[in-house]
Symmetry: C2
Subunit: 271 residues, 2 copies
Amino acid sequence: MAMHDETDTLPRLSANDRGLAYGHGLFETLELREGQLPHWPRHWRRLAEGCRRLGLPVPDRDALGGALLAEGPASGRHVLKLILTAGTGGRGYRPPPVIEPVRVVSRHPWPIYPESHTEHGVIVRHCRTRLPVDPLLAGLKHLNRLHQVLARAEWQDEGIAEGLMSDADGQVIEGTMSNVFWIEDGTLLTPDLGRCGVAGIMRERILDWASATGIETLIEPLAPDRLRQADGLFICNSVIGLWPVRRLDNHEMRIPSLMRELLQAVRERAC
Amino acid sequence: MAMHDETDTLPRLSANDRGLAYGHGLFETLELREGQLPHWPRHWRRLAEGCRRLGLPVPDRDALGGALLAEGPASGRHVLKLILTAGTGGRGYRPPPVIEPVRVVSRHPWPIYPESHTEHGVIVRHCRTRLPVDPLLAGLKHLNRLHQVLARAEWQDEGIAEGLMSDADGQVIEGTMSNVFWIEDGTLLTPDLGRCGVAGIMRERILDWASATGIETLIEPLAPDRLRQADGLFICNSVIGLWPVRRLDNHEMRIPSLMRELLQAVRERAC
């Protein structure tokens, strides 16, 4: 396994790798904190599901987790990025008879975001780039990510923290790098990801926390109109945690008490 | 530019490359014959269109063509594969302010297929894997190719030369590695690629040859029923040339005279 700190010389990958040629592979972005991977079982579960659907051998959970930990530092907070590809193969789409996956791990400093992102919320916009309806790949964190790249390229304004992406029918699905939740009358709602979108680990943690706390959750379609009438909206991922949205395009939004409660749970690592 | 023969040690690519991380890049598969790239202007045009749509700088046509030729051998027939990526960048979908593309070129022997593929036709099947409707990326030969990989993984039978892929509405669009044409009453038809599919160079050459020869061509939707009633069907790409289909699943097909004429044009390099 190639392991590197972003300040080190980057590892090199065969130009023949199917991850490069076709995006035949998956990735995970994990928190490494004080020599622990606090949410490894969840990440591994998504990775394993991706391996099954893309025809890659499923790695052993404990062996891979151990290998990741063995190479990371025992202190501090870091972002680990794991890429798992279908390995090298000749020219042509046909997978080799035996896939020998290639793993690449990179370590990045844990980013420091302004305190106000969590306290007062961020500004978010709608993207023009549409997510295709694609149940075959929905939910997976695979390496075919041109839609996210093109959506993120739509704005340069540093004051805008995230862009929301809709599917071909105009339903809001997710952010370019995050999942979305909205609140209606004390209920926590998030879009269905059965047709497109990435099933984020933070999204799963929030849904599980809400269930355990007795908060009603619903998975429903999210039309843009519904969003403007919501009591509140937030975005989440494993690195940013949870950011309330204070403005969506020109529409000002509130931070309801349920969102404050959830922010507190994330802060206390109860979520 | 990294250049290699497949028998040489493969060039290595940064594990940080956006081509690997997101599939942010394009490729071309070209014929190199006696030190010439006979269809370079067409390949370059598609590549340039892809660069514009994916936010990559458009390479100079003659400089890139010259660079490809300078590294290839002056004799024999070879396949050149050119990959052009958005280069290295940090973690995150946002493209770097200045993209410095990375080029990787690999050379492969020109494949020798059985003479009977051209003379008597091949066996083709329908794939279950559906192409998502995705006008944003339609036509391009980009690096997000999981659908082709999964479709090609559907069969192992060496007797089946290609699989046809349909879109979400069930319309046949293309083969996993080829474009499709069918014939009805002396007219040459091929599916529209405005919503999905790769706009192949061989497809373009055939359409241009037909126009120049006075043969009527139409771009129309291709429902599976229509295919079974067609006078003939063939698949094409820059490497295989043109292969008539003699059987589609359990349905036997003929090779009409127009297809023989076209095969002759390909043989004589008039197409």
